[in-house]
Amino acid sequence: MSAAAPPSAMQAAHQRYRWFPYALLLPALVVLVALTIFPLVFSLGVSLTGYGLGRAAGFVGLANYAQFLRDPSFWLALRNTLVITVFAVGIEIALGVCLALLFRESLPGFRALSLFIFIPMMLSPLVIGFFWKFMFDSTFGVLAYFTTLLTGRTVSWLTSPRLALAAIIVVDTWQWTPFAFLLTLAGLQTVPPQLYEAASLERASAWMRFRRITLPYLRFPLLLAVLFRTIDTVRIFDLVYIMTGGGPGDATITLSVLAYRYGFQFYEVGRAAAVSWLIVVLINLLVMVLLSFMGKSAAATARSTGSGRAR
C-alpha cells in the first residue's frame, strides 16, 4: 500500500456511470438547499435590520450584533451555556463510560437493565422539564422530600443561582448519559478480546488496560457523542425554559432562552436572528475543533486497529 490511500473503485472514472454520484448526492442537496435557502437568507438579512413587531425595519448594519456584544446578559447567557455544555457533556461521557464498563459484563439480567437506562433519552425534553421541576420543588417534590429526609435541611434546588444551574446540568445529564452509554457500549464491542487476554498475561493493571486498550477503541464513538451532544446542549432551550425560565434572576439564562426572549417576548425579530447567528457561529467553532480532533483520532483508530479502513 502506498502512503496515499488508494481511491475507491467507485471513483475510477467510468463513462457509463458518471451520472451516478449526482444521483446519490443531488436529491439530498436539492431538498436541503430548497428547504433552507429562504430561511437562512431571511434570517441573515433580518439580523441586519431593526425588524420587529410594530417597528420600522430599517437597515442597521451590524448594530444588532454589536448590541449583544455590549449586553451583559448576552455574556452571562454565553457563560451559562458554556458551563452547562462543558459540565453536562463531560459528566455524561464520564458516567456513560463507567456504566458501559459495568454493563459490558455479560451477567444475567444486565441486558434487560441496560434497556431501561436507554429510556430517558427517548422522552420529550418538555415532559422531562416538567417532571423534574415538580420533583425538585421543595414543597411537593419527591426528590426534595428525600433530600430533606437525608440532610434534614430544605434544599432549594431551583431558586439558588448555583444550584439551579446544577439542577439543569443534572437533568440534562440524566436524559443524555444514556446516549453516551449506548455509544460506549457499542464501542466496547469493537475491542478485540484477544487484546485483553494479552494484557492479562502481561499483568497490566485495570487502569492501564483501560487506557491502553479500551480507550483507543472508544475514542471515535466518544468523540461522536461529544459532537452531537455539544451541538444539542449549546442550543439547550426546553429544559431551561420550563424549569427556571432563566431564573433566578438571569442565573440560568442560556443563549437559546435569550434568543427566545428577543424573538417571542420582545418580538424583535432582527435581534433574535442576530443572537441565533451568534449561536450558530459558536457551535461551528466548537464543532470545527471537535472535528479536527476526530479526524486525528479516526486516523489513529484506523492505525491501531490495523484493519486498513483508512479509505
Binding site: 475507491s8 473503485a9 446519490l24 436529491p27 442537496l29 451477567l107 451541538i231 457551535i283 479509505r311
Partner: protein, 271 residues
C-alpha cells in the same frame, strides 16, 4: 471473593438503573394517582390506582395529535433515511475532495441551527405557500435536521464496509446502483436502524417548531402535552398518562431494534 465482586456489580447496576428509572416510575405512578394525591406531601406511594387519566387521554384530541406525530415522524424519518443513505453513500465513495468536505460540513451545520433562528422565516414561507399547519410542512422541516443527522451517521457506516465487497459486485457485472442497493445497503442495516431510531426520537419530541407552525390540524404530541397546562396548572395525571402513552411505542421500537442499536453504534466494527 469473586462472588462478592459479582454481588457488588449487581448492586451497582441496579442502583444505576434505579436512578434512571425512578423519574419514569414516578411519572407512571403519577398517571395512575387520584388527582388530589399528585402533590401530596409526604409523597404518596400507596393508593388505589385509577385509570381515569388514561381513559380521559384516550378520548381526547391527544390521540389525534399522537397520530399526527406518528405520521410526521414516520414519513420524515423514511424520507430522510432514503435521501440520507443516498447522500451518505455518495460522500463515502466519492467524497475525497476538499470541496465535498465543505459540503459535508455545511450539511452538519444545518443541524446546528437553533429552531428559533428559522421559525419566523418558516412561518412566513409556510403562510405564503399555504402550507401552514400541515403535516407536510413539518415533515419537510424535520427532514432538514434528520437528513443532516442521517448523512453523518450513515457515512460512518458506509465507510466501514470493506471495499472489496463492492468491487467484487462491480466486477461481476452489477452496476453501481445495484451494488449500492444490494450490497452496500444491506450491510448497513444496523446503521439504518440506529439512524431511524434517533430520527424518530428527535422528530417525535420536537416542540418549538411544532408549536409555532401548527394550530389545529397538524398539532403534534409534544404540543398536545404542553396543552395539558390548563388554567389551574398542568393536569399532571393526564399529562403523565399522555406522556406514558407517547413514550411506550418508542420504547417498544427500541426494544425491537436494540440489537441493531448497540451494534449499529459500533459502525459495524464488530468482530
Amino acid at each position: 471473593m469473586a462472588r462478592l465482586k459479582v454481588i457488588l456489580k449487581y448492586v451497582a447496576a441496579l442502583g444505576a438503573t434505579a436512578l434512571f428509572v425512578f423519574p419514569l416510575a414516578w411519572m407512571f405512578l403519577t398517571s395512575v394517582k387520584p388527582r388530589v394525591d399528585v402533590f401530596a406531601k409526604p409523597p404518596v406511594f400507596i393508593f388505589t390506582p385509577t385509570f381515569d387519566n388514561y381513559s380521559r387521554v384516550l378520548d381526547s384530541e391527544f390521540m389525534l395529535q399522537l397520530l399526527n406525530s406518528a405520521i410526521i415522524a414516520g414519513i420524515s424519518t423514511a424520507f430522510s433515511l432514503t435521501l440520507g443513505a443516498l447522500a451518505a453513500y455518495g460522500f463515502s465513495r466519492y467524497g475525497r475532495f476538499k470541496r465535498v468536505d465543505n459540503l459535508l460540513f455545511w450539511i452538519l451545520s444545518l443541524r446546528m441551527l437553533p429552531p428559533i433562528a428559522v421559525v419566523v422565516p418558516f412561518y412566513i414561507l409556510l403562510r405564503w405557500a399555504h402550507l401552514f399547519d400541515t403535516r407536510f410542512a413539518l415533515i419537510m422541516i424535520y427532514s432538514i435536521f434528520n437528513i443532516s443527522f442521517a448523512v453523518w451517521l450513515l457515512k460512518g457506516f458506509f465507510d466501514e464496509i470493506p471495499p472489496q465487497l463492492e468491487e467484487s459486485a462491480m466486477l461481476e457485472g452489477h452496476s453501481p446502483p445495484v451494488v449500492f442497493l444490494r450490497v452496500a445497503l444491506p450491510m448497513v442495516r444496523a446503521g439504518l436502524a440506529t439512524t431511524a431510531a434517533f430520527c424518530l426520537i428527535q422528530s417525535l419530541n420536537e416542540f418549538l417548531l411544532a408549536l409555532l407552525l401548527t394550530d389545529v390540524d397538524a398539532v403534534t404530541a409534544p404540543v398536545g402535552l404542553a396543552n395539558f397546562q390548563r388554567y389551574f396548572g398542568l393536569e399532571w395525571g393526564q399529562f403523565a398518562a399522555a406522556a406514558t402513552i407517547f413514550v411506550v411505542p418508542i420504547i417498544l421500537f427500541t426494544v425491537l431494534v436494540r440489537h441493531h442499536l448497540v451494534r449499529g453504534m459500533s459502525f459495524g466494527r464488530m468482530g
